[in-house]
């Protein structure tokens, strides 16, 4: 890679040990992908839940500040959801070791100057990136939204790489920082209009499976109305989850949308979307209902609160939002309405990042209903039988123990 003077200084340790270790990691990744140089970034977003870090990752994180007490991130660096909501540990029955690891991780991040935003919807709650802005974001749903809806530029940056970008203020210029990689590679005709959020997620999942890998950029036409932020959130998060896709084009929505002369390679009708939804509909009995992945917006909580009014839940219902939205939901009475029915509103975490296997065993949860296509794709590996249903159907399942 071609290095500027400041990057050479970082590599020889003139900016401290933490920065040296960060840029060494970035050069290794950059050279793997053939990056010519670095691009400066304005924001970094670090995924750092402790189920992923483990003891080893936390010790590594703690060692950064210990070995280099002056080490601080040089650009705004924020965090993805944590593995717990400390106010709800007893509800979740999380193991004590997990809570201890969370506390250690938070302290280690804070020592480096990281802002603990604990959100996977920072484009809704913190600051959406602008068109052309180069960033280092570390949640696949955040990256696909930023590239496809905002027109910003990011690769999937895993925790160590996003933190490295925070420390150095740059990232290797490869992948979705390059114009050539951002062009559509596959043209898809959508012949059915999604209605609910789980429809949007399922459509995203179908497209993700068709596109199939990180370097594919599907262009979609035929979507007749402009989707809102929550719809695009579920659509993108599922596409990234099912297909490892980092960018899509929707005609008239994506700033760079351009089919580039590609012929239509696939047509997606209601049949394909229903097939994906039906793959997560193995029975009616439900142990737990979860709204998460991505964290709920104020508008989703508003819709959920309306559905909860006058109900009394037979099964646990967990609604997970960001620490930015939770105080508003409290202040506006949405939390109280959901909890009056027997639900729980949690913040700053994400269900599948919160020791999902351990809490399933502790609570006897196996059959889970959610309206998140992303989450049903993930939870099978954690021993759950996930069911994909609409928000209305999920609330009904919490009320009766059965999906309608």
């Amino acid at each position: 890679m071609k290095l500027r003077e400041i990057e050479k200084e970082m590599l020889v340790g003139k900016h401290g040990l933490a920065v040296r270790s960060a840029i060494e990691h970035q050069v290794r990744v950059g050279e793997f992908f053939g990056a010519e140089d670095f691009v400066e970034v304005t924001q970094a977003h670090v995924m750092g839940d402790t189920e992923s870090l483990g003891q080893t990752g936390i010790e590594w994180l703690e060692s950064l500040a210990k070995n280099d007490p002056g080490a601080r991130v040089r650009i705004p660096t924020i965090t993805d959801p944590r593995g717990t909501d400390f106010a709800k540990v007893l509800v979740l029955k999380q193991p004590a070791f997990a809570v201890d690891l969370e506390r250690r991780a938070i302290e280690a991040f804070k020592r480096l100057g990281v802002l603990m935003t604990d959100t996977c919807v920072n484009y809704q709650t913190i600051q959406a990136p602008a068109r052309g802005e180069s960033v280092a974001f570390g949640d696949t749903g955040v990256v696909i939204y930023s590239n496809s809806v905002c027109g910003a530029r990011s690769n999937f940056e895993g925790g160590p790489s996003a933190l490295a970008a925070g420390l150095t203020g740059r990232t290797p210029r490869y992948g979705f920082h390059l114009d050539a990689v951002r062009r559509a590679t596959m043209r898809i005709r959508v012949e059915w209009q999604p209605q609910t959020l789980n429809d949007w997620g399922a459509l995203g999942g179908v497209v993700g499976k068709l596109a199939g890998h990180y370097w594919a950029v599907p262009y979609m036409e035929g979507i007749e109305r402009t989707p809102g932020s929550d719809e695009l959130k579920h659509f993108g998060a599922a596409m990234a989850s099912f297909g490892s896709i980092a960018m899509f084009h929707i005609a008239e929505v994506t700033p760079e949308a351009n089919p580039g002369g590609l012929p239509v390679a696939h047509r997606v009708s209601e049949k394909e979307v229903r097939a994906l939804q039906n793959a997560y509909a193995s029975g009616k009995e439900i142990d737990v209902v979860v709204f998460s992945a991505p964290q709920l917006s104020l508008y989703e909580l508003r819709a959920l609160a309306a559905l909860c009014d006058g109900r009394c839940f037979e099964r646990p219902l967990l609604a997970i939002t960001s620490p930015q939205v939770k105080p508003d939901a409290d202040r506006m009475g949405l939390t109280a309405r959901i909890e009056a029915a027997g639900g729980h509103v949690l913040s700053g975490m994400c269900f599948y990042q919160s020791y999902a296997r351990e809490i399933a065993e502790a609570n006897g949860w196996k059959r889970l209903a959610t309206n998140s296509a992303k989450m049903v794709n993930i939870l099978g590996g954690y021993g759950y039988v996930p069911h994909l249903a609409s928000m209305e159907q999920c609330v009904e399942a919490a009320t009766t123990g059965k999906l309608p």
């Binding site: 990691h25 750092g48 690769n155 940056e157 895993g158 890998h213 297909g243 954690y382």
Partner: protein
């Protein structure tokens, strides 16, 4: 002996048994990391141990967690010896760099067709080669 040449490579030279499938890979979605086995019911390798094996798979899938997880898995000795992909996303490359796991990707063929199940394979990242020994 057949030798395949990859476009991208990192890590140490390794030799081991190939565990092959036309399927994807995500440490979070697909594995029971405590037991060292593939746990996602729909994965072609469900129930199989990945420990010490050279995984030969189509592509990396899923979220960003694998970037942390490979190092954590390595710290407990429950980690693949190496991973060979037709194509790789940044997360697995970042995770391999962070966890010091050998990774190669990008061939002029479908690598899952070229390496027989259970074959002994040697990977030389410096030469970007994957050699099928037996």
């Amino acid at each position: 002996m057949k030798t395949l040449v990859a476009r991208q490579a990192m890590g140490k030279m390794v030799r081991g048994e190939a565990l092959v499938a036309k399927d994807g890979f995500s440490a979070r979605y697909d594995l029971d990391r405590a037991k060292g086995v593939f746990s996602r019911p729909s994965h072609q390798l469900a129930g199989k141990s990945y420990v010490g094996k050279i995984l030969v798979l189509d592509t990396s899938k899923g979220g960003v967690a694998s970037a942390w997880m490979l190092r954590e898995m390595a710290s407990r000795g429950l980690v693949p010896l190496a991973i060979v992909f037709n194509s790789v996303n940044p997360i697995l490359a970042q995770g391999a760099a962070f966890g010091d796991i050998t990774l190669v990707s990008g061939f002029d063929c479908d690598v899952t067709d070229q390496i027989p199940r259970g074959a002994t394979v040697e990977i030389d990242p410096a030469a970007r080669t994957v050699s099928i020994l037996e």
